[in-house]
Symmetry: C2
Subunit: 349 residues, 2 copies
DNA sequence: TCGGTTTTTCAAACCGCTTTGGGTGATCAA
DNA sequence: TTGATCACCCAAAGCGGTTTGAAAAACCGA
């Protein structure tokens, strides 16, 4: 034991100091009924005075619970991008974990090792529950975790997985459908979709929504207007330039993230177009703290949904699953808000 | 014990299966010399066959080490921004942790509770070491952790703290000094600094570097040209607009982050200025995976330093500190690279 | 062959907490 | 007074590993 000087008193020491048995002290501290009110108070006071903190490792071992939730962040070996929404989601989830007295353990692993990581975390008993990030189409992790029998939540969903599982997602499809409808209402018919990687489930759903709206309006989708890649500013810029260079350029654009919208805006204004007048843009806004949609008034018309709030909610749900492991799967679908900004207007071409 | 079905065999079971004592099995698995080579092999084979994974909680309790590193992310209650470089730093650090068999435990806490969080983490024995993020001027956390006697690393430094401690930082001062010198060489004399919050240590150092260069060139700094705030795109935009509206607008700009540079660029191009020709911009580029400086060629002239690499290195250093707790403080100063992009050019005013 | 090493193995204590299965004394109804 | 009932407390046995101290086995030279 290396840090004994700082690791504080043990329960046993506290017990001898109080002339009580460890049993009673433990019970007093954990709120069990079979202990005298006065005794309990005495114990609580002494614990506070001695600055007693139970050793989590020992507690874990004895109870069989680790009071920790695992988050596994896959780092794709091909395109090494760390999902930027991750930080805000974590922040939201973390709030609820710490409130409930849970730790969060993070594993950053190349996607090849992901399965082994999950197995390890569970087998070593390091976590009581798991959060799954960035689900792909037909994500194999879901079946894996169901096999391991540990409570878990998916942030997003995985099309193609048909067994029930717990998830929290935004209504990407409806969201992009509405945004597209809104642009159609404004008279736009050539609408571009500047999407994220379509191996990601959310991107696929957004495309579906976009296609739904076009279809309902009797407009045949033009493959030239649909782009998909890792969401960065330069990508948005490049997509914008290339789309404008088409023989029949689009008059409106859907951007799958704020940062893509930044790049898109640059391409459009570089071409001398004014957003909202000459061309329309709707962005999806995850409400990331460091990427606000304007300072006070929203710059972009946007489909808004706070990732931070999603993290909070997902954590809350996961904790109830951990609390009652036999609980049936919990799901939660969040609608986005379509908020009007200065980036959309009637089609005047 | 809730997950016994998945928690696999215990060492004791493995031992009886092998007709050996737990002692021997433990030693064989942990590579102690006092065990016959054949026996060791037999044990290793059996362990693999039985899919044995030692229970970390038990191991922790017995050894007094948790094999986990804590990262505490402060969420300022006033301006609730999650540091965007955090995700990439974590990704880098996580690589080294998992390679070394360490877990990473994350605590997201409002800055008011920060001290209590550190105390708890240590007292409960949840971590063997701590990483401190986002140091402020005279950051009180350093003294706190030194008092607690646990190994820790600071990502960045804290001016005003004079006791030695372990840190990894980039040479912010030199970096911004060089960038300023470069702009001076190009004939710019009115150079704006669009900085981060100057309660943050890094921002203060960048300003020092900027001032150093101006001073060496005999140019009196103009307070109107120095801005400081939370680093977002709208902030960059606003700063750019306001700076251009000055009676004597600057001809060059230093931006403390890529995203600020995005906003700055927008303000400048909106004003009809072309970067590199009419006006110059140098950005600091943390090489965040989702915020690249251009697709193939760098757009902005930038002071570059990979936060991901910093995370890797900091983790490595922290792990050696954890390995030998009596090791004197470890420090590492990384220089940035000044990379030429298309955003700088001779002053033609 | 034998005492002395060296190698290999083991029984048992321990890490700090929880929890089972009694005890003890007080209270109460009969 | 007595047996039953409670309220309260405790000793001891875990949880799943590591580690100490000692014993057994194998090896060695004389």
């Amino acid at each position: 034991m290396r840090f004994e000087q700082i690791m504080g008193v043990t329960l046993k020491e506290l017990a001898t100091k109080l002339a009580l048995s460890p049993t009673t002290v433990s019970r007093a501290l954990n709120g069990y009924p079979e202990v005298n009110a006065q005794t309990r108070q005495r114990v609580l006071d002494a614990a506070r005075a001695a600055n007693y903190h139970p050793n989590m490792r020992a507690k874990s071992l004895a109870t069989g619970q680790s009071r920790a939730i695992g988050h596994v962040i896959p780092i794709s070996t091909s395109h090494e991008i760390v999902n930027p929404i991750f930080a805000d989601f974590i922040a939201g989830a973390g709030e609820n974990y710490s409130r409930a007295g849970y730790d969060m353990v993070l594993s950053v692993v190349p996607d090849a090792d992901e399965e082994a990581t999950y197995r390890n975390l569970v087998a070593r008993g390091s976590v009581d529950g798991l959060m799954v990030h960035g689900p792909l189409l037909q994500d194999s992790r879901i079946a894996l975790l169901q096999g391991l029998g540990i409570p878990f939540m998916v942030h997003g969903r995985s099309s193609g997985v048909n067994t029930p599982y717990s998830w929290l997602d935004i209504n990407n499809r409806r969201s992009f459908c509405r945004a597209t409808e809104f642009l159609l209402d404004l008279g736009h018919t050539r609408i571009a979709l500047v999407n994220g990687l379509e191996s990601m489930d959310f991107a696929m759903r957004r495309r579906s929504g976009y296609l739904d709206a076009l279809h309902a309006a009797g407009i045949a989708p033009d493959p030239m207007l649909m782009r998909s890649s890792e969401m960065t500013e330069p990508y948005g810029h490049k997509a914008g330039r290339e789309l404008l260079a088409l023989p029949q350029p689009p008059t409106a654009f859907l951007a799958s993230s704020m940062i893509v919208a930044y790049g898109l805006r640059r391409a459009l204004t570089d071409a001398g177009l004014k957003l909202g007048r000459d061309v329309s843009v709707i962005a999806h806004d995850d409400d990331l703290s460091y990427m606000p949609n304007g300072l006070d008034v929203p710059q972009f018309t946007a489909t808004c949904s706070s990732v931070r709030a999603a993290g909070r909610k997902a954590a809350e749900m996961l904790l109830t699953l951990v609390g009652n492991p036999d609980h049936p799967p919990l799901t939660h679908l969040m609608e986005t808000q379509l908020v009007l900004g200065y980036s959309t207007g009637r089609n005047r071409t």
